[in-house]
């Protein structure tokens, strides 16, 4: 599947609870080997097998607001992209 979205991860906020890893439908999140400032293994994006679609399910379940989610603007037939409308 083509790349459609991505997440920005604020690693220092992450407490390593892994809720996002369990709910991610694409399975692109995993825990990193290293530690963050709090001493937890923070979550990281691993797109080696699959790609993030920017569905924001991880952001909905994250208790610590670690994620900022981005998605490519959807282009529909006969209608300009949402971003173009806003501009």
């Amino acid at each position: 599947m083509a790349t459609r979205g991505t997440v920005l991860i604020d690693s220092d906020r992450c407490k390593g609870c892994q809720l996002c890893v369990h709910v991610c439908p694409q399975g692109v999140l995993k825990m990193s080997e290293g530690y963050n400032a709090k001493g937890y293994h923070p979550v990281m994006l691993d797109e080696s097998e699959n790609h993030c679609t920017g569905c924001a399910v991880c952001a909905v379940i994250c208790p610590d607001v670690v994620f900022t989610v981005f998605r490519m603007p959807v282009k529909r037939k006969g209608r300009p992209a949402r971003q173009a409308l806003a501009a």
Binding site: T3, G5, T6, V7, L8, I9, D10, S11, D12, R13, K15, G16, C17, Q18, L19, H22, V23, K38, Y40, M44, L45, E47, H51, C52, G54, A56, V57, A59, V60, I61, C62, P63, D64, V65, F67, T68, V69, F70, R71, M72, P73, R82, Q83
Partner: protein, 266 residues
């Protein structure tokens, strides 16, 4: 913040639109909650609703005693701390002195259902125009997981090591059902945190509870079944499954009371 993506085929992040970001009503501080505690999710939902309704500058939060005792530090709104269980009483005072403000209380089950049972009942009976966020995690989380009024029958806690025996310790308290029959209550709903879909429903419920207050219809309460991985001795995802499998059958989800004026809006 670090961009955690290394893929070269990915379009630049500037070309994408932001679909989710931190709500402005949530302060830029880290919370003290345990990893996987759903308090953080509920804080975020409340902040998102305050943002969406555009009432941040006139909202006052009342924090409880319990795990959420520092809630006033985590919201970018005015806040104050009430004595144990007395948040509805303090919210009553705030709302009556400043009726143009939006007042919400954020309480746990040890605070609202136990010592504050009297306060919430009478705030509801008086029909106070406030919003109550009631987080039910079936134990006293802050003090080490003792049995609460909402503890499930047979559930092991530090003060009921053989499980809650209903013959001597009684049955769980169903606050939302009790409040729903009161005429002063405009909105009463029980929601859960056990899945993404339920979290989205919870946000809608919180929004309705705030709208009830904005329209002046009466008290709005949202009870939220929440997890306590540390005191339940489970990992965070397992504790969400415990909510789904064990708490939801005892505390049925759904809207118990919706004021007619809230129903019309679809």
């Amino acid at each position: 913040m670090a961009i955690a993506t290394l893929s070269t085929e990915k379009p630049p992040i500037e070309a994408m639109e932001v679909v989710y970001k931190r709500p402005e009503s949530l302060a830029e501080v880290q919370t003290h909650y345990c990893p996987g505690c759903t308090h953080g999710i509920i804080h975020r939902l409340v902040a998102e609703v305050i943002d969406e309704l555009g009432v941040r500058e006139k909202t006052i939060g009342v924090a409880p005693v319990g795990c959420a005792v520092f809630a006033y530090q985590y919201f970018n709104v005015d806040g104050c701390e009430a004595a144990h269980g007395r948040a509805p009483a303090m919210a009553t005072g705030l709302k009556r002195v400043m009726p143009d403000r939006i007042i919400f209380t954020y309480q746990g089950d040890g605070d609202l259902a136990s010592i504050g049972g009297n306060e919430i009942m009478h705030a509801a009976a008086r029909g106070e125009n406030i919003t109550v966020i009631f987080v039910n995690n079936a134990n006293y989380g802050m003090t080490g997981g003792q049995m609460a009024p909402t503890t499930l029958p047979g559930m092991v806690t530090t003060s009921s090591p053989y499980g809650r025996d209903v013959k001597t310790q009684g049955y769980p308290v169903h606050i939302t059902e009790m409040l729903a029959i009161m005429p002063g209550v405009a909105y009463a709903s029980r929601n859960s945190m056990h899945s993404v879909a339920e979290i989205r429903k919870t946000k809608k419920a919180i929004r309705k509870a705030f709208e009830a207050q904005i329209k002046g219809l009466g008290l709005g309460i949202v009870e939220i079944l929440s997890s306590c991985p540390t005191n339940w001795r489970m990992d965070p995802f397992e504790s969400l499954e415990f909510i789904r499998d064990h708490m939801v059958p005892v505390f049925p989800l759904g809207e118990y009371k919706v004021h007619d004026e809230l129903k019309r809006r679809k």
